[in-house]
Subunit: 658 residues, 2 copies
């Protein structure tokens, strides 16, 4: 026991580094141009000054070193900006700042009138430290240190108090006794992963005649209108050939009628599988033309990747070993007893040939990547092994760091968060089911005020082909406006399943929380240019989003206290750009509330008037002080998006949408 001394030890301990996810096990997420503000707790015995630095850079690239500043309570901070796609790494290094400590003590000795005799002895100590540093330095720095040492030895106390000597000493510090933290990581995505508006539609419903299957060329003709509404990403349900075995009819009817098109998620037919395009959509050539058109319009295309097969999928014959079998030899269809989904064969990710299957699935992504797709909405990732996604997404992102993967995992929270940790950089959320003030506030506080904000990017959808919430059914147009504004402003990335939403088609299936006459099972026709629809709202809200940097981030979200349970109020900011959103969650009645504007936090002077401008409704208001009264009429202005101006402006300056 007596010889078990520590092999090496340091006086310094780094006890915490933030941001981190599970102690550094998973990367945090950022987009190009964003900052990583690192805080480290560093402690040591006694009262010596500590030197703390941040070593950071793109993985495998050139690392930079930034001195960290003591904030308070042993917390040191420094920030850096990530400018490249891909993975960044950082570590914290800390040691005792011997010369800095000496100078600070020496200054106190001088200030308190220490005798010349004592000062002379202390100066000799300081010179000794400088000579030690000079031993490890070279050239001009070495000469500089020795010059200082000599003037110390001559008793020059003034020289010892110069900023120059401590800077030089710091420059030549040998970092003796330094400790270094674990490495922490950030995955840096393109801005589109953080700030984007998605628009979902079914290309086969892009024709003009009900029941007639449209092509991707028909769909391409809708792109200009979608772009004009201000969307960034068009998201297509699966475009592959659809199986006929156990095909579902209208509204998921197990008895299909002749001519019914089937669900795009029943993937695979003799025409091909996950790397083919449905012949009625125009095949791969039409797909290429669609991508080309979108690219010309500066629209991005997101494809749906659903790793499951119809019984007619080529893999069922080519690779029966990739599926689960019953003891009677039949392939297991999907089921959650007593529910059965005979039209879907799940893949067996743990099968003997899992390597072959995993490769084939990753090649599906690669196939579409090669055709120009960089954004994928991944269907039900939580029913496939998490280890598969970690491997698949990790290797694809190493090849293409600009990829965006949206996890369509409507499952338990911890699985959703883990999927985000291991590689998904956009995630569906519970937003669709959070409709009251309490629900919204507590959920978004969880998403923005905990470690979760570092790795989980909530992509908010007020509806999907699978989900039409009662709130939209009963609340009609006002509810649709409110939920759209919430989606577009609470997070910085959101999407809408556009056609039925913009026309407030809120007929619900009698048994399920989804649309009646669901486009998943039938071909519909939409009015793509209807000024009485919500299309103008989409256009205006997307413009407001684009023009206000406050709405480009999630992190600054802060709820304002209100005294009416139907009024939700929240603020976002980016520098001087401050937005306050007010939403009436009651689609039927006028609601009024006091709201508390956090003037200090938002940088608004508390001693004068300030002006707010409703970017949605056009109204201009002058406010004084923190407590304001607001009134929202669901028939007129169920929501307001207020631009806060710290000083008054003339009316002319407000011609925001002239």
């Amino acid at each position: 026991m007596d010889s078990d001394f520590p092999h090496n030890w340091s006086r310094v301990f780094i006890t915490r580094v933030e941001p981190s996810v599970e102690g550094g096990r998973w990367p945090i997420k950022r987009t190009v141009g964003e900052a990583v503000a690192v805080v480290a707790d560093v402690v040591a015995d006694g009262h010596d000054k500590l030197a703390v630095e941040l070593i950071h850079g793109p993985e495998g690239g050139v690392y930079q070193t930034t001195r960290m500043t003591l904030r308070y309570n042993d917390e040191y901070e420094a920030a850096f900006v990530v400018n490249e796609l891909g993975r960044y790494t950082w570590r914290v290094r800390a040691w005792v700042d011997r010369f800095g400590t000496w100078q600070s003590e020496f200054r106190r000795r001088v200030q308190h009138g220490e005798t010349d005799e004592v000062l002379r002895v202390e100066l000799a100590s300081g010179a000794e430290l400088l000579r030690e540093l000079a031993d490890g330095a070279g050239g001009a720095k070495r000469e500089g240190l020795l010059r200082y040492a000599r003037s110390f030895e001559r008793g020059n106390a003034k020289k010892a108090l110069e900023a120059g000597v401590v800077h030089l000493a710091r420059d030549c510090d040998t970092r003796s006794g330094a400790v270094t933290s674990l490495a922490y990581h950030a995955d840096v995505d393109r801005e589109l992963a953080r700030f984007a508006a998605w628009y979902e539609f079914f290309p086969r419903s892009c024709g003009d005649i009900a029941g007639v299957h449209a092509t991707l060329d028909d769909a391409a003709r809708r792109l200009e209108g979608i772009r004009d509404m201000g969307f960034d990403i068009v998201y297509l349900p699966p475009v592959h050939p659809i199986g006929t075995t156990f095909r579902k009819g209208k509204d998921n009817n197990p008895a299909v009628k002749p001519g019914e098109p089937g669900s795009p998620w029943a993937i695979g037919s003799p025409d091909g599988g996950h790397t083919s395009v449905h012949p009625r959509l125009g095949g791969l050539e039409a797909f290429d033309r669609f991508i080309k058109k979108a690219t010309e319009l500066k629209l991005h295309v997101a494809l749906d990747i659903a790793f499951q097969c119809s019984p007619d999928h080529p893999w069922v014959k080519e690779h029966p070993e990739w599926f689960r079998h019953r003891v009677d030899g039949t392939i297991r269809y999907a089921e959650n007893p007593p529910k059965k989904y005979q039209d879907v064969y799940p893949l067996d990710f743990s099968c003997g040939d899992w390597r072959g299957l995993w490769s084939a699935l990753r090649d599906v992504f690669r196939f579409w990547i090669d055709r120009g797709v960089r954004i994928f909405r991944v269907d039900n990732p939580h029913t496939k092994p998490l280890a598969f996604w970690e491997w698949c997404l990790g290797s694809l992102r190493a090849e293409h760091p600009d990829l965006i993967f949206l996890a369509e995992a409507f499952t338990r929270p911890k699985t959703m968060y883990r999927l985000a940790q291991l590689g998904f950089n956009n995630s569906y959320t519970y937003f669709t089911w959070r409709n009251t003030k309490h629900e919204l506030r507590s959920y978004f506080e969880e998403l923005t005020q905990t470690q979760i904000v570092e790795f989980f990017r909530p992509n908010l959808w007020p509806n999907t082909p699978d989900i039409l919430h009662d709130f939209l059914v009963h609340g009609g147009r006002s509810a649709h406006i409110v939920r759209f504004v919430l989606a577009a402003t609470l997070s910085s990335v959101y999407g809408v399943y556009g056609p039925p939403y913009e026309h407030v088609k809120n007929d619900q299936h009698p048994e399920r929380e989804e649309y009646a006459n669901n486009e998943k099972y039938e071909i519909r026709v939409w009015n793509w240019n209807d000024p009485t629809s919500l299309q103008p709202l989409f256009r205006r809200v997307n413009r407001i989003r684009r023009e206000n940097p406050a709405l480009h981030n999630l992190r600054s979200l802060r709820f304002l206290d209100t005294d009416n349970g139907n009024i939700l109020a929240y603020a976002k900011q980016d520098g001087a750009n401050v937005i306050i959103c007010l939403v009436n969650l009651d689609p039927f009645a006028v609601q009024e509330s006091a709201i508390d504007v956090p003037l200090n936090a938002l940088g608004i002077p508390s001693d004068g008037p300030y002006q707010v401008y409703d970017l949605l409704g056009g109204e201009r208001i002058i406010w004084h002080g923190a407590r304001q009264r607001v009134r929202l009429d669901p028939g007129v202005t169920p929501a307001r998006i207020l631009l806060v101006l710290r000083r008054l402006r003339t009316e002319r300056q407000f011609d925001y949408y002239a």
Copy 2:
């Protein structure tokens, strides 16, 4: 890239294990007989049932396995009791419960009237699983599994739903695809580390004549009285020879007068150093007699270990290399410019012979351990390297797992917490400076409702020889009662520097927050049996503590809302034993408040009356409902310690202190 498949992977992820300190880096703390309630988050893809177990036991001993139960939200829990001193270890192991999943799905198939044909195929699958398990099992279990498999194969659905088969399958589970968490640790101390009352006094002041140095034999004569007041531990300031060079006089006067005894913390003289006893105290023989007497009385002795030397300490001559030197060759005394402590030489823990020094210091502990001391109050540990304590305390505890080390680190919070993490199992706190309701509540919520409660045991002191807070100075007797009750009930371990406190000697030094006529620098005389002092209060509070298990823990502390900023209310419980403390923080005026009793949390019926009994004042009260009104008169009852009884009792049953 294509061949970089994971070497092995599991469908199961353990994403969190609690309790843990910094992800398992440091042990949690428990005492013998306490439970460790482990919660683990475990996720996997899909909807299969998971098997999760806790593997736990004393390090190097026999490990036990306990099945963990799914609570909700993917959280699994199990608990175990630690029965031995020393280190315990646990891990969580999880895998997919294949047979359990099969049975649960089969049950749903049966319940929903699946056809016999389908059930027969599924039973064959179940039999296949059982046969796989049988391959790895032996003896009766193997036979049992095969019997079940055969009845499955005969189509016996009833057998498949039996609890017996799933228990048997679980018993024989091969845990294929299991993942295991990191190892987590607990350091298990004796109960005295969690539940104890400390009494500090200066043995040299145990005589009957002012100014005359008493011996440890005189001090031993005081032990019976201290024990009768209900204290468990007597804590002695350093008992070593005291240096004469730069000795401090009365009230820290740098000009000492002849005959002044000096500070016990100026350790070392030609009579010896850290392993000697001051001759005027009677030397080592008297010390041994003191320990013997204390042990007879079932009192424990805590020694003060202060690793610093007076200029007269033998080590100064024997080991000059253990001290820091100026360039002029003199030894550096302690200083924090402009303050100078010429009577104290700090040790240089980083000196060339640090191994020799560290060994000698550890041997100081061993010396006193060999003389029967198991409890040490360590002076200023934060001015010595944290790595030294980790090594020293770790190796001593490996030899003697019953040791208690109280860290006297009045420094910044993160250093205090780190000292607790690396080995101190009792800690001084900021309690002494937390006097308002807000200060007390927020500090104790930090200590009890965060991870801190797992490793930091707050030992609360209302006063020390170094600290006499203004609140005690100005608040007089009532303030002394209040602060004593707070110390004795907020935490389960507390101490008091008794003699001046019990006599409400609250003369403060004119310049410092400490006692005037400080015993650190002079010999005083006390009345050791004074019924007008606070000695009867000490006796009563210690008895209340002993008789109420609720006061034996820190963890159950819960503050009650009050509407008066001067009334602090809090509850503690242990099973059916519930205590509510009410404290008037205003020593000058009667204060009244409503309090909210959390009936549900405390297990009190909300529909009937319940009774509270003031164990301190003797009053009996019947309450109905959660909201109560209380009134505390500082002149009469500045504090109440209420025993809560869930049902009414007759007056006779209340003769608590008859």
